[in-house]
Point group: C2
Chain length 343, copies 2
């Protein structure tokens, strides 16, 4: 039965997104959502966009208005920008454009499980890199035959960044997944314009508080972007997402204020978590990676869940731990209170 | 340069969507949009959904609420329903799940150019079927090695349907693209539950007037649907689209009224077009396919465009013609008036 489905698909377990309880009473610190609402300009732009004539018509398949706005704000040419239905869509498009069946991809572990899923769907093999104790990646061990390396920077679940300069001169085509870059001190958004083998992906889900609308983008050299446009679904971004995304990036001030708040909370929470016996690497993202010295991560996850706090339990071949999203100060105080009782 | 991009991608021309002029003065009959607005219940549901807490959180990756509503309305199990970011996304997911690189797909011509694009992206070969004069497809000529056949029914650009019973017992795995089925007399939505090698895709762009929100779905046997969920991006449908789609299918009455209006207009316009010298096959969709006995299609397209009416000029190896979307009665009267002057 189902022998007409590709064997690589039948073999896959499939990516499991974090739990999304649809009721509201739980404190949700498991999927790196921003606890603060998006810019009021986003809500206003959406409200104005909801009329029948907008909805019955196809959106602009090129996303010109977003691209021109993004070009101005991020100082890259509009022709370098790929619009995407979330940065997952950008990663999917890039994989389909660069990685053949029986090809090979490379990514670090522990990291974002989607890279392995994309490789499995494409029918490609995986070369897995281990982070050094300093959070560096051994570029010299990457086989030249690799069609694409994915490096999330900052990384999830660890929140760490690779040392400055590591990503320049990477030995294979490289996508730098900057979903969390707005929470870090530096980024590589302009590197693709100097190196055509580098692509940077961005998400509006985290720093812009727009996980619900699914919007992300990629920056690549214009000729490569043109190739990626061939692979994307023509109308991959809907009319409302394009409007919301454009309004969101236009309000950099709102985004930066939320990011600053979350970074301050992250700093404070990291200190407390360490006092509670957790190993917490310095995070550059909107979450912290916590491995307790005494208690198993799954047990802690279950204890917290029973107390109405949802964090992400993640297990990798080499480690397991809790990835805890930075919420509001009140939410994090609740978390710390409960943890004090548990550990 | 760009030698790291897959050769099948570099070779592709890329699908060209119909022109989407962003200003409003033109009569737009080129992309099969519905001229009537979506259900007021869609607009109301969207208005209520626009608040910060909804937008900052990820949507339900399973789309449970939509699936349960669709299951009730279309009388299929919720486990049989795949949610998709437009039916193009469903077709993409199905292709990636079933068609390996160097595989082979089959589709009719003239038809929806996306099938060839999807084959090119996947690196698969195409076996092309020609419609008989009666609009039938020669199933007996399809090689058994074909991994997937795409049959749009009703077909675009011709608007025709294959004879009853043709799609049962199709010799290869089959996706019936029912983007236009709401405008036809019959459909195959329940066939996948009897035949696991058949998948049906649906779009909310046309009959539900929601091209702007990008939502479609597929019906397949539950075990196959489970495989397709592995291939889709986790969050392929955004929170607002899911809400709009659910509200839209709940208002079947609104959809059916618009469909009835468009079918009446289609009938009337077809008669007039034939009187003007066009060959117009009986259409079962929200457009008509027009080949003029005397005037070349591209010239007619340009004449109409110069008069502020945008129709779709389409050229295939075996034919060329105009695909004219059914608009409002006033729009179609304007079209007929201009055509009377032109031909």
């Amino acid at each position: 039965m189902l022998d007409f489905v590709r064997p690589n698909i039948l073999r896959m377990r499939g990516y499991e997104p974090g739990e999304q309880p649809q009721e509201g009473s739980v404190i949700k610190l498991n999927t790196n959502e921003n606890p603060y609402p998006p810019s009021p300009r986003v809500l206003e732009a959406l409200r104005q966009a909801i009329h029948g004539d907008r909805l019955r018509k196809y959106p602009d398949p090129q996303g010109r208005q977003f691209r021109e706005t993004a070009a101005r704000i991020f100082d890259v040419p509009p022709e370098a920008i790929l619009i995407a239905n979330g940065s997952d869509d950008a990663l999917t498009i890039i994989t389909r454009a660069l990685v053949p069946e029986n090809g090979e991809v490379c990514f670090p572990s522990p990291s974002y499980p989607l890279y392995e899923t994309l490789a499995a769907i494409q029918g490609a093999a995986c070369h897995i890199l281990r982070f050094t104790a300093e959070g560096d990646l051994p570029a010299e061990t990457v086989p030249r035959r690799v069609h694409l390396t994915y490096i999330p920077n900052p990384n999830s679940p660890t929140g760490t960044v690779v040392p400055r300069g590591r990503l320049q001169g990477w030995p294979t085509p490289l996508v730098i997944d900057e979903a969390y870059a707005d929470f870090a001190e530096e980024n590589y958004l302009h590197l693709p314009l100097k190196n055509e083998r580098v692509i940077v992906t961005r998400s509006l889900s985290k720093s812009y508080s727009l996980a619900g609308i699914r919007f992300g983008f990629a920056v690549a050299c214009p000729e490569l972007t043109r190739q990626l446009y061939k692979v994307k679904d023509s109308y991959n971004c809907d009319a409302l997402s394009l409007i919301a995304a454009t309004a969101a990036i236009e309000d950099q001030e709102h985004m930066r204020q939320n990011v600053a708040r979350l970074r301050a909370t992250r700093q404070r929470v990291s200190v407390h978590l360490r006092q509670l016996g957790f190993l917490v690497p310095e995070s550059h993202a909107n979450f912290v990676w916590c491995v307790h010295r005494a208690h198993p991560a799954r047990w802690l996850y279950e204890q917290l869940k029973a107390r109405g706090i949802l964090v992400r339990y993640l297990r990798y071949p080499e480690t397991e731990g809790l990835r805890i999203t930075i919420g509001t100060d009140a939410e994090m105080d609740r978390l710390l209170d409960e943890l004090r009782r548990i550990v």
